[in-house]
C-alpha cells in the first residue's frame, strides 16, 4: 500500500518538481533560519500552517509548498543575487543588514504578491515611494508596505501598452502588457480561433460535389489520348 503511494508520488514528482524546487537555491543562499522576531518570522508565525526551509518560509504540504517569506538579512550581499528571481511568490522579503549599494529596477520583476519589503535604510524603496502605500524608516531598515497597482495610477503611464493588450502589475512600480480578452499570440496579433472544422467541411464538400458534377457532365465521356 505504502509502496503504491510512494510510486504514485514518484510519478508525480517530475510534475511537481519545478514548483517544489522553486526557491531552493535562494533559501540556501545564507546559513541559518529566519531570525527570531524578524519581519519574516513574525509573518510566518501569524500565518500558521507554514514551515521553514533554510531562510524561507513556505506553505506546509506533503511536498514543499509555495514560498511565502524570505529572510536574506545579514547575508553580506553586495548586490541583488540572481537567485532572487526564484522567489517571485514571496509576500514578505527582508534584505536588511546587507552592504547593498543599489536595487536595480528589474530586481523585483514579477514580485506581484510582495506586501512587505525591508531594505537597508540608505536605499529607496524599489519603484520609488509612489509604488508603495506606506514607507517607514527606522534605524536598521526602510520598510516598504502595500504595493500600489502601477496601472491604476491617475498619472498617465509614460509608455502605454500596444494595441490589443492591457497593462498588468509586474512587481513594485513595474508593469507588463498582457493580451486583452480574445487576443492572443505573439504581440497579441491574433483574435479568436480559426473555425478549422467548419472551413474544412465546407471546402471538402464543395470540392467533392463539384468534382463529381464536372466528372459526370464533362470528363466521363472524354477520351484520353
Amino acid at each position: 500500500m505504502l509502496g503504491a503511494v510512494g510510486g504514485f508520488a514518484l510519478l508525480l514528482l517530475p510534475l511537481l518538481l519545478p514548483r517544489a524546487a522553486r526557491g531552493v537555491a535562494v533559501c540556501g543562499l545564507c546559513p541559518g533560519l529566519p531570525r527570531n522576531g524578524s519581519l519574516v518570522s513574525r509573518f510566518c508565525e501569524s500565518h500558521g500552517d507554514t514551515e521553514s526551509d533554510g531562510r524561507c518560509c513556505r506553505e506546509r504540504g506533503p511536498t514543499s509548498g509555495q514560498l511565502l517569506g524570505l529572510d536574506l538579512s545579514n547575508c553580506s550581499l553586495h548586490n541583488v543575487p540572481p537567485e532572487l528571481a526564484e522567489a517571485t511568490t514571496a509576500i514578505v522579503l527582508d534584505l536588511t543588514e546587507n552592504p547593498l549599494t543599489t536595487l536595480p529596477s528589474g530586481s523585483f520583476l514579477g514580485f506581484t504578491q510582495l506586501q512587505s519589503l525591508a531594505v537597508p535604510p540608505a536605499l529607496e524603496c524599489p519603484g520609488g515611494s509612489d509604488a508603495w502605500q506606506d514607507v517607514t524608516v527606522d534605524r536598521n531598515s526602510r520598510l516598504c508596505q502595500g504595493q500600489r497597482n502601477p496601472c491604476n495610477t491617475s498619472v498617465e503611464l509614460a509608455w502605454p501598452c500596444p494595441e490589443n493588450s492591457v497593462c498588468a502589475p509586474d512587481g513594485p512600480g513595474l508593469i507588463q502588457c498582457l493580451c486583452d480578452g480574445p487576443f492572443h499570440g505573439y504581440k497579441c496579433l491574433r483574435e479568436g480561433t480559426f473555425p478549422m472544422l467548419l472551413f474544412g467541411g465546407i471546402l471538402g464538400t464543395a470540392t467533392v460535389s463539384l468534382s463529381l458534377l464536372l466528372w459526370g457532365t464533362q470528363r466521363r465521356k472524354a477520351k484520353t489520348p
Binding site: 520583476l109 509614460a158 509608455w159 501598452c161 500596444p162 509586474d170 513595474l174 508593469i175 507588463q176 502588457c177 498582457l178 493580451c179 499570440g185 505573439y186 504581440k187 497579441c188 496579433l189 491574433r190 483574435e191 479568436g192 480561433t193 480559426f194 472551413f199 474544412g200 471546402l203 464543395a206 470540392t207 463539384l210 468534382s211 463529381l212 458534377l213 464536372l214 466528372w215 457532365t217 464533362q218 470528363r219 465521356k221 472524354a222 477520351k223 484520353t224 489520348p225
Partner: protein, 502 residues
C-alpha cells in the same frame, strides 16, 4: 471534306455563337477560376505583408521607452531587427518570385505542350498550394523562421505558379477559335483582376485569426481548385468528340492563296487524325514544337519584346499605384488601395472592347497601336492629375483602359493567335510554348521594371517615373510597328479584293 475542314469555311463571326456548348462554358469558367486562384494566392502575400513583418520583428518602440514585458510576448522574434528590414526582405521576395516565374514560364509552356495540359495545370495548382501552405502556415505553426528557407520556397512557388498561365491560355485557345477570340479573351482576362479581389477578400476575412490562416485558406482553396480541374477540365474539344478547331486563318483569299499547298496537306492530315481519334486513339497527339522553333514563328519575338515593355508599365502600376497615391497626395493607404481598383476596371473594359474591335477588323496590331498612342497621352495626363479622388479615379480608369487593355490582349488573345497560326497547324502543339515565351519575356520586363521604378523613384522625382513609363509605352509601339504596317497592308489589300469582287 471532313468536319474540321467544313468548319473552317464558316464565316468568322458566327463561329462563336453557333458552337457554344455547355463544354465551352465550363471550360471558360474552370480556366478563369484556376488562374484567379493562382493570382489570389499572390495577392494574399502582398496583403499580409504588414502582419508578417510584425511577426518577424521584435516590438519597436522609441529608444527612451523601456522594453515591453513579458519578453516572450513582445520581443522573442528576431528574424529582422526592425520593420524596415523586413519590408526590404519582402520586396526581395517579390523580385525573386517574378524572376523565377519568368524562367518558369519558358519551361512550363514547353512542358505543357508535351504532357497533358490538364495534368500540368492541376499539378501546378496543387503543388504550388502546398508550397504556399509551407511558406505561410507550416513555418508559423512550427515557429521555424529562416530567410533562406523562405527564399527557396518562393523560388519554387514562382516555378510552379508559372504552369498556370500557358496551360489555361492553351486550353482556351483550343476551345475558342480566332473568330470572337478577342472578345472572349478580353472578358476572360479579367481573371487576374478577379483573382486579386478574391485574394484580398479571403485574406481580409481570416487575417484576424493570424496571417498563417490567410495562407491556409488561399492555399486550400487553390488545392481544391486543382482537384476540380483534374476531374472536370476538358483540354480540347476533341476529347469529347467535338470537331477540333482548325488553325486560325484569315478567311481571305490572300492568305489562303499563299498557304494553299500547306493547307491541302493539312486537310488530309486532319482526316487521318479524326479517324484515329475514333478508332484507336493512338499516336494522335501531334508533335510538340521546339523552343527555338516557337521563337522563330512570325510575330513571336516582336510581340514578346513589345509585351516586355508593356508589362513593365502595367505591373509597375499594380505594385506602385497605391504607394504613389499615398505618397504623392497623402491619401490613406486603405483608400489608395481601393482607388487603385479603378485601374483594373479600366483594363478589363479596355481589353474586352479592344478585343471586340479587333475581332470585327480581324486585325489586332493596329488596334493595339492606336490604343497605345492614346496610352501615352493618358500617362501624360495622369502624371498631372489634380489632388482630387474622383478626377484621379477617372484618369486612372482611362489609363487602365489604354494600357491594361492592350496588355491583356497580348498576353491572352494574341498569344493564342500566335500559337495557332497557319504555319504551326496540324503538325505540332505550340500554344502553351508560345504563350510561355510571350508571358515569360513580359515577366522579365516586369521584374526589371520593379527594380528600375524603385531606383528612379528614390533618386529622381515621381515625374521621371512617368516619363519612363511613356518611354516604355513608346518602345512597345516601336516593336509592334512592323506588324502594324504588315497588317494594314493586308487590310487594304483585302478591301481592294472585296471591291473587285463586287
Amino acid at each position: 471534306m471532313a468536319m474540321p475542314g467544313s468548319l473552317r469555311r464558316q464565316p468568322a463571326n458566327r463561329g462563336l455563337v453557333s458552337h457554344c456548348t455547355h463544354h465551352h462554358i465550363v471550360v471558360f469558367l474552370l480556366t478563369f477560376f484556376s488562374y484567379s486562384l493562382l493570382h489570389a494566392s499572390r495577392k494574399t502575400f502582398s496583403n499580409v505583408k504588414v502582419s508578417i513583418s510584425s511577426q518577424w520583428t521584435p516590438s519597436c518602440l522609441n529608444s527612451t521607452a523601456p522594453e515591453l514585458r513579458p519578453y516572450k510576448l513582445w520581443n522573442s522574434s528576431h528574424l529582422f531587427p526592425n520593420a524596415g528590414e523586413a519590408t526590404l526582405f519582402l520586396g526581395t521576395l517579390d523580385t525573386i518570385f517574378l524572376f523565377s516565374y519568368a524562367v518558369g514560364l519558358f519551361v512550363s509552356g514547353i512542358v505543357g505542350d508535351r504532357l497533358n495540359l490538364r495534368w500540368v495545370l492541376s499539378f501546378g495548382m496543387c503543388s504550388s498550394a502546398l508550397v504556399v501552405f509551407s511558406f505561410g502556415t507550416l513555418t508559423e505553426w512550427l515557429h521555424f523562421y529562416n530567410k533562406w528557407f523562405y527564399c527557396c520556397l518562393w523560388v519554387v512557388n514562382g516555378l510552379l505558379q508559372s504552369t498556370g498561365w500557358p496551360c489555361v491560355v492553351a486550353v482556351m485557345g483550343n476551345w475558342f477559335g480566332k473568330a470572337g477570340r478577342g472578345f472572349v479573351f478580353g472578358l476572360w482576362s479579367a481573371c487576374a483582376s478577379v483573382g486579386n479581389i478574391l485574394g484580398a477578400f479571403l485574406a481580409s476575412c481570416v487575417l484576424k485569426y493570424g496571417y498563417e490562416y490567410a495562407f491556409l485558406v488561399t492555399a486550400s482553396v487553390q488545392f481544391a481548385g486543382g482537384v476540380i480541374v483534374f476531374f472536370g477540365l476538358l483540354t480540347s474539344p476533341k476529347e469529347v468528340g467535338l470537331p477540333e478547331l482548325g488553325a486560325d486563318e484569315n478567311d481571305v483569299s490572300v492568305e489562303e492563296d499563299a498557304n494553299r499547298p500547306l493547307m491541302g496537306s493539312d486537310d488530309v492530315d486532319d482526316d487521318d487524325r479524326n479517324y484515329s481519334v475514333q478508332a484507336t486513339d493512338n499516336d494522335s497527339q501531334p508533335k510538340a514544337i521546339g523552343f527555338f522553333q516557337a521563337c522563330c514563328l512570325p510575330g513571336v519575338v516582336l510581340y514578346s519584346l513589345a509585351y516586355a515593355c508593356l508589362k513593365l508599365v502595367n505591373y509597375s502600376f499594380f505594385f506602385w499605384l497605391p504607394f504613389y497615391l499615398s505618397k504623392n497626395f497623402g491619401w490613406k493607404e486603405a483608400e489608395a488601395d481601393q482607388l487603385s481598383i479603378w485601374y483594373d476596371v479600366g483594363g478589363i473594359i479596355g481589353g474586352t472592347i479592344q478585343g471586340l474591335i479587333s475581332d470585327v477588323l480581324q486585325k489586332r496590331a493596329p488596334v493595339l497601336a492606336v490604343s497605345l498612342l492614346f496610352a501615352v497621352g493618358s500617362l501624360f495626363g495622369y502624371s498631372r492629375s489634380p489632388n482630387s479622388k474622383p478626377i484621379n479615379a477617372v484618369i486612372m480608369a482611362i489609363t487602365g483602359f489604354f494600357i491594361g487593355g492592350p496588355s491583356n490582349m497580348i498576353s491572352s488573345a494574341i498569344s493564342a493567335d500566335l500559337g495557332r497560326q497557319d504555319v504551326v497547324k496540324g503538325n505540332s502543339e505550340a500554344l502553351a510554348t508560345v504563350t510561355g515565351i510571350v508571358d515569360g519575356t513580359g515577366s522579365i520586363g516586369a521584374a526589371v521594371g520593379q527594380y528600375l521604378v524603385s531606383l528612379i523613384q528614390e533618386n529622381l522625382k515621381w515625374m521621371w517615373v512617368f516619363y519612363f513609363f511613356i518611354l516604355m509605352t513608346s518602345s512597345t509601339i516601336l516593336f509592334i510597328s512592323p506588324l502594324v504596317v504588315r497588317e494594314i497592308k493586308l487590310l487594304l489589300h483585302e478591301r481592294r479584293l472585296r471591291m473587285l469582287a463586287e
